[in-house]
Amino acid sequence: MSDLWRRTWAILWKDLLIELRTKQALNAMVFFAGLVLLLFSFAIGPNPDLLRELAGGLLWVAIVFTGTVSLGRSFQSEELAGGLQLMRLYPGERRAIFLGKLLANLVLLLAVEAVLFPVAGVLFQINMWPNAWGLAGIAVLGSFGFSTVGTFYAALTVHLRARELMLPLLVFPALIPLLLAAVNATGGLILGDAMGQVSGWLRLLVAYDVILFVVCVWIFPIVLEE
């Protein structure tokens, strides 16, 4: 078991180092996320009350779009260098690949959100600080679920034709429960949870994360078979 963690850590570290060295992907992701938020603001109009009410939804759609667009990269660097072939040879390493990449994607996404939430606070005139911890918690839970499902389908679609379309096509429907939970929990916190709903949504979020994580981890080795 500690063997698995060691390998996971190795892959996680490798991927993160690549990102941190150039910060290319990270910068692009942050910028993209902000742009999506901006676009939504223009689409909806400068009504501050409306924007505040929709803020939870807009934030999470921006996160999902940003995450999905950057998932394609997740296995691409290995694929180009032929690295995935080498990695597959080690027995029991396939799950480590999944976990490592999942965590790498998670870290990057959380970094983006650390910037995106404050930006949304500014754009939508919301004071996030009183709920900072709660929002952070929702962000982590939501991003974890996203990374689980996203990394899984990213690996599956890596060899498919029309991969850029196939990935969102598979990921988006799978994310709907997560989106519902995250949006409503975030919105609930921001708008002052009048009906005490947030805890219920959080429970759904946790249930989603657990179920999908277990299933994806269990099935993942088959995805990488050759």
């Binding site: 599956l156 498919l160 029309a162 519902l180 219920g200 999908l212 299933v215 088959i222 995805v223």
Partner: protein
Amino acid sequence: MSGAVRGRALGWVAFAALLVGSAVALFVVPADAAQGEVQRILYIHVPSAWVAMLSFFVVFLMSALYLVQRRLRWDLIAASAVEIGVLFTGLTLALGMLWGKPTWGVWWIWDPRLTTTAILFVIYVGYLLVRSVSEDPDQRARWSAVIGIVAFVQVPVVYLSVFWWRSIHQPPSSPRSMASEFFLVLMLNFAAFTLFYVYLMMRRYRLAKMELELELQEPSRE
């Protein structure tokens, strides 16, 4: 009777059952007091939804079987079940909307069951699309099986989340409570639809086997 003749016989029996079911639903059973004539659509809407769910369960079973045994036959059955499941899901949605417009006044109201059905439609169409861009039969089978399993796991989660989402904003509008004679007609159509489903599965699987043989351009050995 040979397999082909049996299949054809089943086809005719199923067809007849569907005819009887529809005839009874349309002309024999009295109209609902509250909803009027449109309520008759439910006699085919609900069985349609049932067949779709049954089919997706079959996909789940076959996907698991394939991953365990790696025999392409299970993959072919799964693929047939997805295609037929998608057909009935689409039908369920259309019928739901045709029932909804005269009942609610609008074509769509985010009813939890119908919304979940719409999401399932998208999920399994995704399965079909992935199959269509896969070229190697074994790879295709593997990916399909994986998607087939993960998709089915999603079903309860999706339903629960959508149900909860909608229950906050409005009480669920359920076309459900039925008197006993209505229930019998419903059961009749359930049976007819299930029979026809089995017939379609048999035919579709046979086609899938032949198409695979053609694809491999040599006789398949099982």
